[in-house]
């Protein structure tokens, strides 16, 4: 495309090679523009958006209460991002984080329930045995729940987006069955929340943070190694680039898609395990559990912004963990309507996609030079050629 404005020609063309910094810049711009647009909501209630954002940052990253909350939320987002990243490396979409998160959470609480944790709140249960058992149950349940979608995709070409979304809604109602109206996991207060874990079964802490936080960082490194340095990681990538070529190379489609969804599901499951069994003040399936299902979609954006790179996802997850929590804090302070963090989520997503798409194009401004006569002739003959 070429437009001439006052002696200068503006040309927009598709880049032959998109460098990593084009996409990195696009991601940063997308975040800034989104924050600007959501800032309009603050202006509408008469607040100065810059001041609001500085308060959000102060609350989320500096304050004594906010920082641990940010880290815990970021860990949840990061693990949910891994749940997107692994299947997406194989070109498949996992939007089943909420379903996988609660499959794991129910399994973990199921183990605690089996050990009598519901009735004996102050029970000294052997955490050394029960906590690992809860973890294993959580990982297996979420890997199986995720793996179903992958198996169906690989074996029968069942669209994985639809399957995982259906699994989410099914699981949300199954959780309701378990914790509400006399469900087996219903807490003592009978207010529609799950029973509280006894102290002996909570995820242990190191420096006031649950160990799952450190585990997530280590997993980012391990996952990067797995995806880039191992044969299996290479196979996943090959399949993602061209399923047909991968099949010629002897890669089993069903096995790959089942594997990536099982692994992705297990990461989502770990996110649930971290939040509902590890974060101080939670230690149960809360009444507003569905909110956390929605919150896990920040993992989706995190994975996309980090361009499928588990380590790059760490700072992005920190940012979103902080901003979404801080925005909710300010929403209360400024008496904004519910859902400012959801609005940010939505705007971020569309901006991300817009800027990533635009990064594929280059804009060149050059002095408009009259096109030489010879070229013009050639151009004309080309236009006529189809009519021969």
């Amino acid at each position: 495309m070429r437009a001439v404005i006052g002696g200068y020609a503006i040309r927009i063309e598709r880049r032959a090679d998109v460098r990593w910094w084009h996409t990195a810049l696009a991601s940063v711009l997308a975040i800034l523009v989104s924050l600007f647009l959501v800032g309009i909501a603050f202006v509408r209630v008469g607040a100065d958006p810059l001041e609001v954002y500085s308060e959000i940052i102060k609350y989320a990253f500096v304050s004594e209460f906010g920082l641990p909350q940010t880290i815990n939320r970021a860990t949840f987002v990061l693990l949910a991002a891994f749940a997107l990243i692994v299947p997406l490396r194989a070109g498949l979409w996992n939007i089943g984080m909420p379903g996988q998160i609660f499959a794991a959470t129910l399994a973990a609480f199921g183990v605690a329930y089996a050990f009598g944790a519901k009735t004996l709140v102050n029970a000294q249960l052997p955490g050394v045995i029960v906590i690992p058992a809860m973890l294993v149950a959580a990982l297996i349940a979420s890997a199986v729940y995720g793996g179903i979608a992958g198996y169906l995709r690989g074996r029968l070409q069942v669209n994985e987006i639809v399957t995982t979304m259906m699994q989410n809604w099914a699981m949300l109602w199954i959780v309701a069955h378990m914790i509400r109206e006399g469900g087996p996991f219903m807490g003592r207060t009978a207010e529609g929340e799950g029973f509280t874990l006894p102290t002996s079964l909570r995820v242990p802490q190191v420096f006031d943070l649950p160990v799952t936080v450190y585990a997530a960082v280590v997993l980012a490194l391990l996952l990067t190694w797995f995806l880039t340095k191992t044969t299996l990681g290479y196979r996943i990538r090959t399949y993602g680039e061209s399923p047909r070529a991968a099949e010629y190379a002897g890669i089993d489609a069903t096995r790959i898609s089942t594997l990536v969804f099982a692994l992705g599901g297990a990461f989502a499951g770990l996110a649930g395990f971290h939040y509902f069994l590890g974060v101080p003040g939670v230690y149960k399936i809360p009444k507003n559990y569905a909110d956390f299902g929605d919150f896990s979609f920040y993992g989706l954006i995190t994975g996309l912004i980090a361009r499928n790179n588990p380590i790059a996802a760490i700072p992005v997850a920190m940012l979103f963990g902080g901003i979404s929590g801080g925005a909710r804090f300010m929403q209360g302070k400024l008496r904004l309507a519910f859902g400012i963090d959801y609005a940010l989520l939505g705007v971020l997503m569309i901006m991300m996609v817009a800027f990533q798409a635009l990064a594929q194009y280059a804009v060149r401004i050059e002095r408009a030079v009259p096109i030489p006569a010879t070229q013009r002739e050639r151009g004309e003959s080309r236009v006529e050629s189809p009519h021969h």
């Binding site: 069942v158 639809v162 259906m166 949300l172 199954i174 859902g339 705007v347 997503m349 635009l358």
Partner: protein, 292 residues
């Protein structure tokens, strides 16, 4: 029981109208997995306008316009910029989900208009859906325009070579589809269940998307599938009508989603595919770059 059937048809109308829109654009090679987002945006804006103006007509018009604009947005990303259609659809879904949660929240609650009229007790929009199915079938298979629309969904470069503008056809498809999906969103929020609450659509957009895949891109199968899911949904709300005291009501609410997966599995088996023939548009989801 007859009440159950009537309200099933009301639900079916929502599934069918949205799915018919999606079917139309998929026939032209455009896959929008963000149906849920389009329906949330159009349904919410339609609801807000209808509630504040007191007019159903204005609500529906705004919803249809919203659907067309969101369709255009998805089209711009997918057709002009040529970026991954699945990513674009995901973005539309999350945008719809996030934005409507914030914008719609102050309007939480019932619509407060007189109930939408019916035809002899039967839901008007079910008949609209039937008419649309016939109309879309006629458009796609009996008109020259329909042939052009389908050709850009099968092999865009051949279509272009025979003088059809792939870009124009696909834009036409996304706008028409957006209008239909927008109407579907409004039928939910203004007629079927005129009470706004956050994320009120509960995955219906995704069920409608599944319905298009189930239907093997046939408008009449869309209607049949929509009636099936409408009935299933109502049964999950009022299970005691047929199966008293089996499962808790929450397990029943999970049923339609689980059964969607099971139906999906059955329809994807080799047996079913061979029997009915796979008729997926060949170029579905593939961006077309004209050679210059």
């Amino acid at each position: 029981m007859s009440n159950l059937l009537i309200i099933s048809l009301a639900a079916a109308a929502v599934f069918a109208i949205a799915a018919l829109g999606e079917l139309l654009e998929q026939r032209a090679g455009i896959l929008n997995v963000g149906l849920e987002g389009v329906m949330l945006l159009s349904g919410t804006f339609g609801f807000i306008v209808a509630k504040t103006s007191g007019s159903y007509l204005q609500g529906f018009l705004v919803a249809i316009l919203t659907g067309a604009l969101v369709g255009l947005l998805h089209g711009f990303f997918s057709i002009t910029l040529g970026s991954n259609q699945v990513v674009n659809g995901m973005a539309i879904w999350i945008l719809g989900f996030g934005l409507t949660t914030y914008i719609g929240y102050p309007y939480t609650g019932p619509l407060g208009l007189a109930p939408f009229p019916t035809i002899g007790g039967l839901p008007v929009f079910f008949f609209v859906a039937l008419a649309l199915a016939v109309g879309i079938w006629f458009l796609l298979y009996k008109t020259h325009l329909g042939l052009k629309l389908r050709s850009v969904g099968e092999d865009p470069s051949v279509a272009e070579a025979s003088g059809i503008s792939v870009t124009a056809m696909r834009y036409l498809a996304v706008v028409l589809a957006g209008m239909l999906v927008g109407l579907g969103g409004a039928v939910y929020s203004l007629v079927y269940n005129p009470v706004w609450s956050y994320n009120y659509l509960q995955g219906w957009g995704f069920i409608a998307l599944a319905l298009v895949f189930f239907s093997l891109w046939n408008p009449f199968f869309v209607i049949a599938g929509a009636v099936f899911f409408g009935f299933l949904w109502q049964l999950s709300l009022y299970p005691e009508l047929l199966f008293p005291n089996v499962f808790s009501r929450y397990i029943w609410r999970a049923m339609p989603f689980l059964i969607t997966i099971i139906v999906f599995i059955l329809l994807s088996t080799r047996w079913f595919r061979l029997r009915w023939g796979a008729t997926k548009p060949e170029a579905l989801g593939v961006a077309y770059q004209r050679e210059s």
